[in-house]
Symmetry: C2
Subunit: 655 residues, 2 copies
């Protein structure tokens, strides 16, 4: 259809509607009937709902109309996307990936060692978790920008939850075994959610909740690190008097503070440079490694460890040993590991999917959330059997990866290779790395998670979201990570329920020089139609709000009637038009409420008229024969149609 | 505004829109700006939300602009509506109330004795509960038609829950004390909900859930009564071997079965007559009392109780003794009583409010749900101190009350007086009443609660509601009353969440000869606009659905682009119009999703356009400066405006 026919049609319509306002006998011709959708087969309807809920993205679409062998290849490519993009891989892409991979490797090595300590594990476990999982992910994942490995928040979460069950120092062996068990079940949780297409569950953790949760976790981690930063020896809640005394005696080591403070300043300065000029993104990326090298060298030369500066001391050489036999597949710890794993797995997923989506949107490619979950889960299951703890996408490293110009998941493979070389050859050199440096690196990393700007924006846009955010923040800071999560999720749910329980309603008026009826609060210039009250209901009408909606509409009517009585020369309200456009669904309670409304209006000699009910609503109104109760001809396509049909009747009733 | 000006204005608009399609330079004049609501003060906004949530019915409105003494009188009248309607009371009304009161009294006396047995209490407690609570209610309640007293479902619920804690036979004294404690807390719960305006909480029990719940309870009660009906002595789960043996021996008493069966037939026949002809509503109303009198007389004459026909035996004479000192105000049973009371109180409320609303709608008067709750609660609190158990509105008796022509709550006072006389003078006569008659009366009463018609309608209208209904039904029948409730509420909530997680989206087309754009599935005659994709989102955009909405819109776009590619002479999609009318709210996650959508569309050179965002959405789009991101002039009042602004740009891009 080209422009002129379009125009001609518009003209035709306008002339018709013009003529119809002259000749009301012809009104049938231009008042369009409200469509009733064709009755659907019950099974088909059920299948449609199921599909839209679980297979909204139609994952099997490419498999349609393919031969068997093609289906097999497609299946392999679906599970291992590397076989799809790998075929188009070239040297130019490798160059980008190589630079990005080396950059994130230099960033991840010091972070890994620090994060392992957050999880109360030996430093090598952090490095292990940056070796195997990224490799698995590179084969199975579909994000091109995510950088896989241990992250601060999940490490902290895992550490605190495991600590509640076992003492990481005195029961070290069991503690490690429980960590692998939790990792295993985190992976299983992720695979299950992805496989059964339940990925939408992680959407229930709202953006606001995540901002608060991350901020709270960052503050908790930073405070915890201050101990290491100030040179106070680490002591757990359960530790005995002797070690507590020891740590107090050893506290306030000035050399440690000097090292920590100077390198933290260095890291923050590097971050500042990186922020100032995007070109220098690599400055904050390699600053941690430089700090580690410098400080380790310094401690080795001065033997500052003899003056009380704590060092990493022993870090095992060699790549990941197998941990298949260490996972608890029976006994008491099976359940505990499962519980911890589910929570850690969900949080890990939330973080990874959020990162994946962010960067996918930036480069405009689609990310299948459920497939991504299967990849992340598989990587953690394999990880749990190769001495890794829960790995996921790291926000800071992914951002560096992106800015360094990564092209595909090959950058993760590069990083993994560097970590491999580190484990095989360089780990002994980390012996003299001061703990204070690791603390500085962690503090520097988690500071980025405190997003005051986002919180301010939440306050500006949506107060309820802000409350959820603050609930999560204070919950994490003052109670625990789990409580913080629970608070945030509860507040978010309460918001949805409130909206469904107390939907907005509005009085509509005619916007001047149009046939459009809009909320008179939003459009103060809109005028009410005399003798007609037009109400819009802004929600599906369900059991939770049906009574409220009915009573609210009656209250609008009463208010209006009072107003009319006060004014002179105003006809009494004879028609109540309910604009149903936003009413996307109705249930039996809702229909009962409409029936009640109709009955009340009949008593007052007011005619109920519906405008623009949607397909689902229309279907149900028909099924319950509500349409015949109020009369088919009292249901209109638009408010304007409804008003123009009321107008003549209204005039006739006037004396 | 009279008809002619209305018409003139319509004409003017039509001419303008006609001319505008010729002269696009003038289009600014007729394209109306989307209104941004005036920025509200945060405190005011908060107060408004609070008011609409808790004080939606504006209960303090009549108190405005009154003197102090007037306020005092109004306050008294608000708490005790009898002082309001009592002043207009007259002899004509008394006549109606007298007849109705006597009718419901004749119905309630036999029912009360039976229901007390459902609650495992002595028969007189049923009568007590029909004496004090109706009196209190008559002073405080605002329904004119409700009949107050013990009801089958609440009696059963109370009986089973109390039985789980204490044995009603061997621990009779404690059992009774716990029953009063539960009643006390049921009343407190009701007063609290009403006073804190939390009445909307009972709306969460959907109509569908209630239908299933009532049906399940009715089946359970009827099956339980079969024992009494067949002459098997009642035995509890906890009863010992001896009494079990005893009851088996005493079972299958043919005299009992004969009495029960004949009177049940009589009652069902009476019910049939009452249904056939509304004039004979009093036949089923007095049938139970006649059955009791006849059967009692028959047993007394034949001394059938000596042949194993079980009789009521002892029923205490005299009115309610005080039970203030029997309520557990401390100790273990305090908490148990509280828990049971909360559940029983909620169920009682649900039933009473549903009844009150039904009859209020029939006679078209308003019922303040929260005030009603305070009245019901106060009556139960007083009841718990005067040996009553939980009373509420009875559906069957209220219907009889209504049909007998009650005018005010005075019919409850009349009934109460009759019960008083019964307690004082007639109770000894009930000694020889056979239990089988009471069982017949209960079965006859609860059969009415099984509403197969309503369940069929649920199936027809809303499959999800039907599932909730069946969940409640089977939960009650096969597990317990509480489990049934839990199932029903969970399913109802799941439905709301599903709707919020997977909202419907639709492609809109132009309905021929109008400027109206509607769902092309509902209106197959509607035509798409070439080069423009119009999508409507049918829900508020929240964290729970923001990703889905974004991805679903992009999928619509892809589908459309494929279609366009397949067709010839079709311009590529250059504009995506999102119709926002049903989007009643948006949160920060939703705005992020819109930003993501905008970014993805930019990559594909498709312009995002919004049509008719509501006041709340517009406010938040402004606050987040999303409006300036997509450009203020890409937000239109209607889809038609948006399309007409796209059309010229589209043509220019064509080669």
């Amino acid at each position: 259809m080209d422009r002129s026919t379009e125009e001609a049609q518009t003209k035709e319509m306008d002339i018709r509607s013009l003529s119809s306002s002259h000749h009301h006998s012809q009104s049938e011709r231009y008042i369009h009937k409200v469509g009733v959708p064709p009755k659907q087969n019950l099974f088909k309807e059920f299948r449609e709902t199921l599909k839209e809920t679980f297979f909204a993205d139609d994952p099997l679409r490419p498999f349609k109309d393919r031969s068997r062998s093609q289906k097999f290849i497609l299946g392999i490519q679906t599970i291992f996307p590397i076989f799809e993009w790998g075929r188009k891989y070239n040297l130019k892409k490798l160059r980008g990936d190589l630079i990005a991979g080396l950059t994130i490797a230099s960033l991840c090595i010091p972070q890994d060692i620090g994060y392992a300590k957050l999880a109360n594990l030996d430093p090598q476990y952090g490095l292990y978790s940056s070796f195997v999982p990224p490799l698995i992910y590179a084969f199975m994942g579909s994000s091109r920008d995510i950088a896989i490995g241990p992250v601060a928040v999940v490490s902290l979460l895992l550490g605190t939850m495991l600590q509640n069950e076992l003492d990481p120092i005195n029961e070290k062996a069991q503690y490690q075994r429980l960590a692998f068990t939790a990792t295993f079940f985190a992976g299983i949780t992720q695979v299950t959610l992805g496989f059964f297409r339940l990925g939408f569950l992680i959407d229930f953790l709202s953006h606001a909740a995540i901002v608060g949760f991350m901020g709270g976790a960052a503050v908790t981690i930073a405070l915890q690190q201050l101990k290491g930063f100030l040179g106070i020896k680490k002591f757990t809640k359960k530790s005995d008097i002797i070690s507590v005394m020891h740590s107090v005696v050893a506290s306030w080591n000035w050399q440690t503070i000097a090292i920590g403070a100077s390198f933290l300043s260095f890291l923050l300065f590097a971050k500042f440079i990186g922020k100032k000029n995007k070109k220098f993104f690599w400055v904050p990326a390699i600053a941690p490694l430089i700090s580690v090298i410098l400080s380790t060298f310094f401690v080795y030369i001065t033997r500052a460890d003899k003056q009380g500066v704590q060092i990493v001391k022993n870090i095992k050489k060699g790549i990941n040993p197998s941990s298949v036999n260490e996972i608890y597949f029976s006994g008491d710890y099976l359940l505990k590991g499962f519980r911890i794993g589910v929570v850690a797995g969900m949080i890990g997923l939330t973080e990874a999917i959020a990162i994946g989506r962010t960067f996918a949107a930036m480069k405009d490619y689609q990310l299948d959330g459920n497939k991504e979950m299967v990849a992340l889960g598989a990587m953690n299951v394999v990880g749990s059997m190769t001495s890794c703890y829960v790995a996921t996408g790291s926000f800071s490293r992914s951002a560096v990866n992106f800015m360094a110009g990564c092209e595909t998941a090959v950058s993760n493979i590069i990083m993994s290779c560097v970590v491999f070389l580190t484990l095989e050859f360089i780990t002994p050199l980390f012996k003299y790395t001061p703990n204070a440096i690791l603390a500085s690196i962690i503090i520097n990393a988690v500071i980025g998670l405190i997003d005051i700007g986002a919180a301010t924006l939440l306050w500006k846009i949506d107060k309820f979201d802000f409350v959820a955010c603050m609930g999560a923040f204070f919950g994490v800071v003052f109670s625990s990570v789990e409580i913080g999560l629970l608070i945030a999720v509860s507040i978010s749910f309460a918001k949805i329920l409130l909206q469904v329980t107390r939907p907005r309603t509005a009085i509509l008026g005619k916007v001047p020089r149009t046939t459009v009826y809009r909320n008179i609060q939003q459009y103060p210039e809109a005028t009410k139609v005399p003798g007609v009250l037009i109400v819009r209901v802004d929600s599906a009408i369900y059991f939770s709000n049906s009574n409220y909606v009915k009573e609210r509409i009656l209250r609008w009517l009463e208010d209006e009637e009072e107003e009319v009585k006060a004014a002179t020369y105003q006809p009494r309200i004879q028609f109540l038009i309910v604009e149903m456009s936003p009413v996307t669904d109705i249930d039996t309670s809702g229909i009962h409420a409409l029936e009640g409304l109709h009955r009340s209006l009949e008593k007052r000699e007011v005619q109920l008229i519906l405008a623009n009910p949607g397909p689902v609503v229309m279907d149900k109104l028909h099924a319950s024969s509500f349409t015949s109760l109020i009369g088919e001809d009292n249901i209109f396509l638009t408010v304007a149609d409804a008003v123009s049909s009321c107008a003549p009747k209204l005039v006739e009733e006037q004396p």
